[in-house]
């Protein structure tokens, strides 16, 4: 059975899009990990009636979410260039859920603002309820995202889902481990970033943050193995046969161990670098895995390369100019000390 997808044009070589996709996804991933991780950690701390973390995160979460969404949009743009056929198809198959993400996100976003603005005026119980709703929303959104990103890799499942023979999340062994992998990673990154960011305020922040990081990362070792083993045999074999994938995998394992070690030693700066490389190698490995899933299907992915760089140049020039302008604006902003 052929998918018979029509070809589409590609303005400039795929490598460029791959680069932007991964660069932007990487930033988005870190940001969204912080948002989700912080939301979970803050909720738990609220329940425990501890306020060091909530006080810190409440006012920063809405802004972080704004940037997480913004970067996510950009990553999604480039994803659609390279993977439109797969991504659109899986999105259509889960259309109501996929679209619901938008509304749930708006709800969570407003709730985060509510949590921030009314932090001192609301009772703890109300704050917990608000946060619980936020966490549930994020868990839902994450589940739909992970489901979609998994389903786009599985053309073999599409027909039975379209014919309503099975549900979109059933029959995919890697879905749950992938989801937990992502959520637990969020907690780890959330803990780490809190430790780092909060370090200015005191050592207690570092301790609490790293506790979350270490706990989540230990759990991640188990989930990671589960996730890896849940991948289809062909994909695991492809990883094993592909040198670059093995390099990514071993780099990730190395930085994982190193990160744990550095966390115990409380070497924050080094830890940040180590986790940076850990996440980077994970992102690159993830890209490889996506390719292995779809390598048989990509044959039909016939792009017609245009080599038309004109709009790309426009984008680059804009990026440089706007970055410059923003730099100037930041300078103006930080130099102002009207009331500080």
């Amino acid at each position: 059975m052929s998918l018979n997808m029509p070809g589409s044009i590609l303005l400039i070589p795929a490598g460029w899009f791959d680069f932007f996709l991964h660069a932007l996804f990487f930033i988005h991933l870190i940001l969204i990990n912080i948002v989700i991780g912080w939301s979970i950690i803050t909720l738990v701390e609220e329940v425990k009636n501890k306020d060091i973390i909530p006080k810190f995160t409440s006012s920063r979460l809405p802004t972080l979410l704004a940037f997480a969404i913004n970067l996510g949009v950009a990553a999604l743009l480039f994803l659609q260039v390279l993977w439109s056929k797969f991504f659109y198809t899986s999105s259509v198959l889960i259309a109501p859920f996929w679209l619901s993400v938008v509304f749930v996100l708006i709800l969570a976003y407003y709730l985060l603002y509510l949590y921030d603005f009314k932090f001192y005026s609301l009772s703890s119980a109300v704050r917990i309820s608000i946060l619980a709703l936020v966490v549930l929303s994020f868990l839902y959104i994450a589940f739909i995202f992970v489901s979609n990103m998994s389903l786009m890799l599985r053309p073999g499942h599409w027909q039975s889902i379209y014919f309503k023979e099975k549900l979109f999340f059933s029959g995919e062994p890697s879905l749950l481990p992938r989801y937990f992998h992502f959520i637990v990673a969020s907690v780890a990154i959330g803990g780490l970033v809190f430790a780092f960011w909060g370090s200015k305020k005191g050592n207690l922040q570092v301790k609490v943050g790293l506790k979350w990081f270490v706990g989540a990362t230990f759990l991640q070792v188990i989930i990671g193995v589960w996730f890896l083993l849940s991948l289809p045999k062909e994909v695991i074999l492809s990883i094993m046969r592909d040198k670059l994938s093995l390099v990514y995998l071993s780099t990730a394992i190395f930085f994982l161990l190193l990160s744990l070690f550095l966390a115990f030693k409380q070497k924050l700066m080094q830890l940040i670098y180590s986790v940076f490389f850990l996440v980077l190698s994970m992102v690159l490995l993830r890209s490889k895995v996506r390719f292995f899933y779809l390598k048989d299907k990509i044959a039909g992915n016939n792009f017609i390369l245009q080599n038309d760089y004109s709009s790309f140049v426009l984008f680059l020039i804009t990026l440089v100019l706007v970055t410059g302008l923003l730099g100037y604006i930041f300078k103006v902003y930080t130099e102002s000390k009207l009331e500080e």
Partner: protein, 876 residues
């Protein structure tokens, strides 16, 4: 095309995207214009040295941030999600072409967020000058993102030169780009001032409230006027034909255009209220009303913009259902199901309703909801009772009226879709294909004694197939008007046509004598024909019982426009029998008697496509519903108001506008004549068919209630198309004639492909009723036919018509001996086999033409040796 379809049912037809889209654009325009007002308001607060006004600016900024960044920003992503779910092919196309324009827009979006956050958190931190500068930067970035997204949106509406050059920049800087940039910029500023009015009404008090409201109201007035002017520019960029189809002929969009048009002054007027001092709660209410007017304003604009793009998602490149224009031929050949077989459930491959539903999803669901508020397919197809009408609609769709894409797929798929809509969605009962039960009629032959009778009376009707349209009080195409003729021959060795001292009277059979009791023609006749007719009186003064007039030159007696109708107390019968008598004027003695039928049917199947039932249960007559729909459609297409006029008691005679030789109607001379218009239009919808296309309007089908095609030609296997061509050919012959007269009929001709000949140029133009098929095309030299193909060889003029032709002696009209057109002897009538053979049976006891089979004695009393009427007549 090869994506699965998300079919929304109730929320389909664009409702979902409309709701998300309008909500988003409202906020997004607020966002763009808002930066300007943040800057101006803050500046004003500083200038007035008013802390309360500054605090108001801060609150407005917070409201602005929460609304534009959260709801506005995320619903923007929501639009993107939605279009990729509903139009994946088009979205993919746009992304692949404009990815870096989108990426550029994203850069500005990012900068917008950063600057907005800095602005909001920078109150009290920055000095006012720098702080105000941030607001201007915000405006700059927001406007830049409008700039880039507009290019893509307007590309979809007017791809312009891109269609040929495929150059990205041609697509981006397309014909509607600049008008749209100006339009949206002004619109953004008006909307931002409306939002300003709302926050001022709620957050400010006393003098400041009044001052700021006036301030915003002033800008609303100013920018709304500019928006309107830019809108006019925008509108005028559009193609004239498109403006006509969408904004004049589609009531849906015409209404929305009206809304948009009238909202402009309304918004300005309401704004003017703010120049006077308003009570606080009234002002709050009024500001909310302004907010609602604003969303209707922008909503109607977006609807118009989307509507102007019909039937495309990317103009002239991709149809709204995702099928590319260039792929149409392939889809028609291969079939839409075959091309999407990946998404077909093989277990249901034999379930026609399932297949029809899949075709609906692929071709219709992008614009039509099922039962929802937008373009509801149930409502739009309600009038169709059978798949035939809908198949015809699908056949004609997109040909003349361009607001829908052409149906793409095979003929079978077209039928599957129609069946799904009729039986699956409308849940209409399948019409049982039983043959109509006809009430047989009785026939008794008038007397004739071969050895005693002195006279032979020949009588005929000149139109063997004849309809009247009983669609009064709405419209009339053909009034009750049947012509009968008679010829009196005095028998003898040299028989002669006699007229001296003779009169010929006619009388319709019992039951048909009071047509005025059966139909409403006499109520509408004065309005339609400008004549006051006594009940039962025909248009020329003749009644169904009366005396014929003699035409001295030919010796033929005739009565024209006899108002006979096919209805009697016994029900429907399209063949009323007339008894004709030749009477000696002096003595009153009856010299000869015969009978003839006056075919007059109301079996015009307008209902097959226009909906409604038959007027009569026997399968004939135009019901009120059908008649109304005909006018409704005519009004919609031609911008007329016929239905309204008819409902006000002014029905319409088609020929009052469309010239028609049959009624000698001049009409409006610039319009195509009625046969050309009516065949030309409908041929677009009924193309690709055989004689069944003709049967939809003419009562020729043997399965119908009239069976008018009953002469020898039908028995020999000929049908309508044999002499008249297929409907397309027939229509083109009429249209070419009108075109040669300089009439604008190109749009009717554009999609009609000749079938009997291989090119349009080979179709000979013909004037209706005068240039008709010529007997001699096949019956060369009165011989047996050399072929069975009469199309494209027309009689030169009226004199050459069969019904006006004479034998070689110049005494006997052809029709007198051979019978009426379409009922040439020997004929076979479905009501009574010999209803059309009365005279041959009466005079010579066979069913052949008068005199055929060496029956010269019918008139001559002896056998003849010379073929004086025409050659090849003396055959056993």
């Amino acid at each position: 095309m090869t994506y699965p379809v998300w079919e929304l049912g109730f929320a389909g037809g664009g409702l979902l995207i409309a709701l998300i889209g309008i909500f988003h654009v409202y906020i997004a325009h607020f966002a763009v214009g808002g930066g300007v007002f943040l800057a101006l308001t803050e500046k004003k607060a500083i200038a007035l040295n008013s802390p309360s006004l500054l605090e108001y600016t801060r609150k407005h900024a917070l409201f602005f941030l929460l609304l534009t960044m959260v709801a506005g920003g995320v619903t923007g992503v929501g639009i993107w999600f939605t279009i990729s779910l509903l139009q994946p092919a088009a979205t993919s196309f746009l992304i692949h072409h404009f990815v870096f324009f989108w990426a550029t827009e994203w850069v500005f979006f990012l900068a917008e967020i950063i600057v907005l956050l800095l602005y909001y958190y920078g109150f009290k931190k920055l000095d006012s000058q720098k702080h105000i500068l941030l607001a201007w930067f915000y405006f700059l970035f927001a406007w830049a993102s409008l700039f880039f997204i507009s290019g893509i949106i307007d590309f979809m509406l007017t791809p312009g030169k891109w269609l040929q050059s495929k150059n990205l920049w041609d697509g981006f800087f397309n014909p509607s780009f600049w008008p749209s940039i100006f339009f949206r910029t002004f619109l953004a500023l008006s909307i931002a001032s409306i939002f300003g009015l709302v926050t001022a009404s709620f957050k400010l008090k006393n003098e400041e409230r009044v001052r700021m409201s006036r301030y915003y109201a002033k800008y609303i007035v100013f920018f709304t006027i500019l928006t309107f002017l830019a809108g006019v520019w925008y509108y005028n960029i559009l193609d004239q034909g498109l403006k006509n189809y969408i904004f004049k002929l589609t009531p849906y969009y015409k209404n929305i255009l009206d809304w948009f048009f009238y909202l402009t002054p309304l918004i300005i007027i309401v704004s003017c209220f703010y120049f006077s001092r308003l009570n606080g709660s009234f002002q709050k209410t009024l500001s909310l009303i302004m907010l609602i007017l604003g969303i209707i304003y922008i909503g109607s604009f977006e609807f118009l913009r989307e509507g102007a793009r019909k039937p495309f998602i990317i103009y002239d490149y991709m149809y709204s259902n995702g099928i590319k224009v260039q792929d149409l031929e392939e889809v028609n050949k291969t079939g839409i199901l075959a091309l999407n077989s990946y998404w077909l459930d093989k277990d249901r491959a034999n379930n026609n309703l399932y297949l029809g539903k899949e075709i609906f999803k692929l071709e219709c669901s992008s614009c039509h909801s099922r039962g929802g508020p937008l373009r509801d397919i149930l409502k739009l197809t309600q009038k169709y009772d059978n798949p035939f009408g809908l198949v015809s609609q699908l056949t004609g769709q997109g040909k003349i009226l361009k607001y829908m894409p052409p149906f793409s797929g095979t003929e079978r798929e077209k039928k599957l879709l129609a069946e799904y809509i009729i039986y699956g969605l409308q849940k209409k009962e399948k019409e049982i294909g039983e043959k109509l039960e006809l009430k047989p009629v009785e026939l008794s032959l008038p007397p004739f004694a071969e050895d005693q009778s002195e006279y032979v009376l020949l009588a005929w009707n000149n139109l063997g197939m004849h309809c009247i349209s009983d669609s009064w009080p709405y419209w009339v195409l053909l009034p009750p008007a049947n012509d009968l003729f008679a010829l009196v021959i005095k028998r003898g060795e040299l028989p002669e046509v006699v007229t001296e001292g003779i009169e010929v009277v006619y009388e319709v059979e019992e039951g048909f004598r009071h047509p005025e009791e059966e139909v409403e023609f006499w109520q509408v006749a004065p309005k339609l024909f400008g004549k006051k007719l006594a009940p039962g009186e025909g248009l020329s003064g003749n009644r169904v019982v009366g005396k014929m007039k003699l035409e001295e030159e030919t010796g033929i007696f005739g009565a024209d426009l006899i108002p006979v109708v096919p209805y009697s107390k016994k029900g429907f019968n399209p063949y009323p029998q007339f008894t004709i008598k030749a009477v000696d004027k002096e003595s009153g003695k009856i010299l000869a008697t015969t009978k003839v039928i006056a075919p007059t049917s109301t079996e015009m199947g307008c209902k097959n496509c226009h909906g409604g039932p038959w007027r009569k249960k026997e399968g004939a007559g135009i019901s009120e519903e059908t008649a109304q729909d005909v006018l409704r459609v005519h009004d919609r297409i031609n911008n007329t108001t016929l239905l309204k006029e008819a409902k006000e008691g002014r029905p319409v005679l088609c020929q009052s506008c469309h010239p028609d030789p049959v009624l000698k109607a001049k009409g409006k001379p610039h319009l195509p004549n009625l046969p050309a218009a009516i065949h030309g239009w409908h041929a677009n919808y009924l193309s690709g068919r055989g004689s069944e296309a003709c049967f939809q309007c003419h009562p020729a089908s043997l399965a119908g209630s009239t069976g008018c095609l009953r002469g020898i030609h039908a028995a020999r296997g000929l049908d309508c198309t044999s002499c008249h061509g297929y409907l397309e050919d027939h229509a083109l012959s009429l249209l070419r004639f009108e075109k040669s007269k300089g009439k604008a009929v190109e749009k009717l001709m554009l999609n009609l492909k000749p079938r009997k000949v291989d090119s349009l140029e080979k179709i000979k133009p013909r004037e209706p009723w005068l240039n008709e098929p010529d007997c001699f095309t096949c019956h060369q030299n009165y011989e047996k036919p050399v072929k069975k193909e009469g199309f494209n060889a027309w009689t030169k003029n009226a004199q050459a018509l069969y019904r006006h032709s004479f034998d070689e002696s110049g005494v006997l009209p052809c029709i007198g001996c051979h019978g009426s057109p379409h009922a040439i002897y020997p004929a076979k009538n479905i009501y009574e086999q010999d209803l059309d053979n009365i005279q041959p049976l009466q005079y010579q006891k066979n069913r052949r033409a008068i005199g055929a089979g060496l029956n010269c004695k019918v008139c001559h009393l002896i056998d003849m040796e010379d073929e004086m009427h025409h050659v090849n007549m003396l055959r056993p």
